[in-house]
Symmetry: D2
Subunit: 342 residues, 4 copies
């Protein structure tokens, strides 16, 4: 069975990564490719790496163009998905890479994104407790944010097992592609090369409430999250360092055992051998999240470090993984744990 899929927002980075993965997906035929201001141009002008699709011309994004497909991937700016999705029949699988349908709490949405809450869809992070079942057969899916994927999967097992107190500090370095192709001065190569900078400090980054939501669910009680993102000179990759006060009596071997158990069956979570720490490059283009965890007995904290490719496991890979679940395909179809390095 070949499924026909469309990608809206094909000229952006998330759209390009979706197409890269879909080109290698055994069960997929790539249908409509749409864009906004880039409609009318060829895909090759925007994504010269997608050689087999170089001559495809981008259509204007509209429900009429997207409707005739088994699944539609939306890689649109925040706030544009709900409108398009409302015009698509409920039988079509709609997978939103934007933020519109991630948050359960309307107040969090209004505070961080503004405007009316567009509603909540099944959340495309199958590795969270209960999430996989919600995705099987789903027809609307909200793909998680890249930072929340790293932070949530890094600490959820520790919170679920009450290894740590519910007061979490996340400092995550990221490459620039997470910000998309926006033409902003601080994303220019001249500014980024040779430089690291913090932004969205003090609880203002939009991914903060998503982390709070995921980690509170894992803990079964409210969790506070201090989140500081740091931009560094690489194109792809997130390395999240997640720290929380360890509960008294927690041992390194217990921590290891909890994490081993939590992720032993997960195809895309790679708990590294003890003593080996994640490097983002090992995840380039792969759907794997690399993870390591340690106790610091002097500081009394547990530290989990997670690496992933923000465009793959952090966006488009999670989208394809959820698509596979929704449509009853093998969860790993079109995805790999093999990265490209060096």
């Amino acid at each position: 069975m070949t499924l026909r899929v469309a990608v809206a927002g094909a000229s952006g980075y998330a759209g390009g990564e979706l197409l890269r993965l879909l080109l290698g997906h055994p069960d997929v035929e790539i249908g409509a490719l749409t864009a906004n201001s880039n409609a009318g141009s060829t895909l090759g002008e925007h994504h010269p790496h997608l050689v087999p699709l170089a001559e495809r011309v981008l259509s204007e994004t509209s429900a009429a163009v997207l409707v005739d497909h088994d699944a539609v991937f939306l890689a649109l700016p925040h706030g544009h998905s709900a409108e398009i999705a409302a015009q698509l029949p409920s039988s079509i699988v709609v997978i939103d890479c934007g933020a519109d349908h991630r948050l359960v709490n309307p107040a969090a949405w209004e505070r961080f994104y503004g405007g009316a809450h567009p509603g909540t869809w099944p959340y495309g992070m199958p590795e969270l407790p209960g999430a996989r079942d919600n995705l099987r057969g789903a027809r609307r899916i909200a793909v998680p944010g890249c930072y929340p994927t790293a932070a949530s999967l890094a600490l959820a097992p520790a919170l679920a097992a009450a290894l740590v107190e519910p007061a979490v500090t996340v400092v995550a370095v990221s490459g620039t592609s997470g910000a998309g192709k926006s033409l902003k001065t601080n994303l220019l190569a001249s500014e980024v090369l040779g430089s690291a900078s913090a932004y969205g400090v003090g609880g203002t980054h939009r991914h903060t409430p998503e982390m709070v939501q995921n980690l509170s669910a894992a803990a079964g009680k409210p969790v506070t999250v201090s989140f500081t993102p740091v931009l560094v000179p690489m194109s792809r990759g997130i390395l999240a360092t997640v720290t929380a006060p360890a509960m008294p009596g927690v041992s390194a071997s217990l921590v290891r055992q909890i994490y081993d158990n939590a992720y032993a069956a997960e195809p895309f979570i790679h708990l590294l051998p003890a003593g080996q720490w994640p490097v983002t490059k090992a995840t380039l283009g792969s759907n794997a999240l690399h993870l390591q965890v340690a106790l610091d007995p002097d500081a009394g904290v547990l530290i989990a470090v997670a690496a992933l490719d923000n465009l793959t496991k952090g966006t488009a890979g999670a989208a394809v993984q959820s698509f596979n679940l929704a449509l009853g395909l093998s969860e790993t179809a079109g995805l790999t744990t093999v990265g490209i390095a060096p």
Copy 2:
């Protein structure tokens, strides 16, 4: 039919890239992985991106370990292949990613590499005239150098069609992975970041005679090559700018037609639409060479610019492409023209 293959030199960059490609090859089972000083360690310590092979332990490189395979890929330092190959039965396909068997001219070997010429094997650049036929059924294959691949494929059509004089200037920028994992000060990140530097200037780089050999064969007469490699702050990628005096009366449309014809049927040569110039990033992890060509009527020259991934099309991808030909598989098996960007 599943072919069992071994990789000697698995802990280095070329070895890692071979394994990355072989993991995705539909007709291959990965057998022995060998190393020299890293024997006894796991592959995951050296290549954390190769998750499915992370726990494989490296054996000591020896004919005894390598013999029981359909094909053996050698990713060894120059000068080590001949000895190993001599101990392997002629029925085994041996593919040497080193330089030992590339040069036809013993004097060139002696001058640039020193010692006795180890002999010439079929040359693994199928896109050169006549080369593909030599590779079908071959049992010994010399994989080309990364710079010669870029320079040769960039200018061979122009020389073959006598569009240019046989006096070629190649200036090629390269990422650092072409130099391997050698522990040298000039390859340290602190030295490379934010810096470009020329090396091997003045005809001294070992890839020069290989370019002369290929381009002279294409021209059907001796060609001089001035080659200057430039190290730039990226891990992978070569961008070769190849310039030669244009013959009188050569027009841009003729140039385009010659290149179109030369490469129309080649699965891994991507001649870009007129006006679009190659970017190395579009080739990351792909086996495609991206190419563009122009005439400069004021300077009276033809300029061809080629981009490739030095570890894929420049080494391991060419090795797999040649392996496919040698064993009668589809030439493109296990390879892609899709890169990873941004």
Copy 3:
């Protein structure tokens, strides 16, 4: 004597570099800072590295603001300098970092920049024969382009001494800051990191006629120049590889002697010891051009490689050097040959 200087276009990269140098100039007081769309903001918002000037507010660029100074540095987009300069008294030293007044040939101007030729000013490259005398006491100065500085100083001695034929190939890699702060997709960090790309190929780059002009003057006859610029992932730095056919009988020792003589007295040209090749990083923030030259007897060419910081010796440093000459100060005041590395 303290000279009062203004900088127009202070929020851009060239403007910032001028201010960095002027802050360390012993004979200078920094007066008006002007900008276009950034007028009204503080300098610290645009150039956080210029701590002593962080709170200075940018004025709107106008002759009225600039007039009350001993010298005015213009770091404006091409085509904006002539108009401003015409409104400033001829007693004020006006130093234009743009291209408006570099070209002698009106036809070249019209072809590469379009519109009427704004006229030619004394050319701020003191190391060219005769140039230094033209700069002493000058009241209007055209600062050279960054690529022409590297290429011209690399090959002028060889052409002047007839060591090479007048057919020159320049391939120059550059960091991104040469393109300024323009918000263009191809200058985004996500596009630039991990990638090299050619642009302006085939004689179309605007710096080509400036190279032709300088090298033809050095040769005393028309010189052709094939120029290919290559963008690489660094913020600052140009490495120009300049190749030309060697005249028969030219020896390496003659080449060395010619270059030694040409530049022995130049404070900012650093001819490296034989065998050591330039690295751009060694020039970071310095006004030195690092140079090496070699013969390739097999290819029959001379290769000169020059490294410089495009914002310092390539723009703002040359501006200050020319300013010093114009005003009778020590030519090296406020400038250094010491770079920042690694």
Copy 4:
């Protein structure tokens, strides 16, 4: 008065940076330059950016060579300073850029460095309470570590004013030059480019006890520090994100006031305007530490972010600043708050 200074370990990165600063110091004459395995070579081979010293030949490091100077800067591997210092008269100012004499607690030394504690010297971080007075007239000075400089100056005012609880989380990204010129695989450009990685996680990094020492002193009580360093693809620069639980009732305006007061008179601490966050590039080559601080009321924490150049304010600049104090010179002589960007 001109002081004659020597640099031991001149071929390394810290040695090179010392010389870069000393070349611009108005009161200094550069005497002996020594090295270990590089003795006998010229400085230009190792530091091509130090043009004025390019031909200086490196001597073997020994007390005999170093003795005839007013001050000696030691840029040696840890464990080598005490022996040399013991052979130098107590009248010579000895400034140790290594770790040997930083720690007060012998047990901490033994645990993190091993062997007998070499004793404690006045600590070269003048901005800490009381430190400046200890440095005036000192004849032995221990230059702080780069990470501890960032973390300590970022949070000391908050701890001193009891704005936060004494449980501190430091996550600091760093360029590679902090690791020196060591030939290690993980420092190769191929490994570092495009990648971020954590190391020394879980309280094992040697800079941890130095942070504990400084921050406990500032707090007047024991402080725990969880420290995670992250290597990112840049040569220079540290960005430290320092988080601690805020005390009840602490307001943003109080925080700002405390920091304003703490650093108003410090020449090298640049508290940014509210809302502007540090970027490491703005500190390149400067002795300034850029700092910003915020409260996150939801997470109940205070976050301070500090940026510095690890080789300047993080090592050699602090050394020169302390040297100035020791010898009664202007504290800022030879140093600048102006960085090089972009």
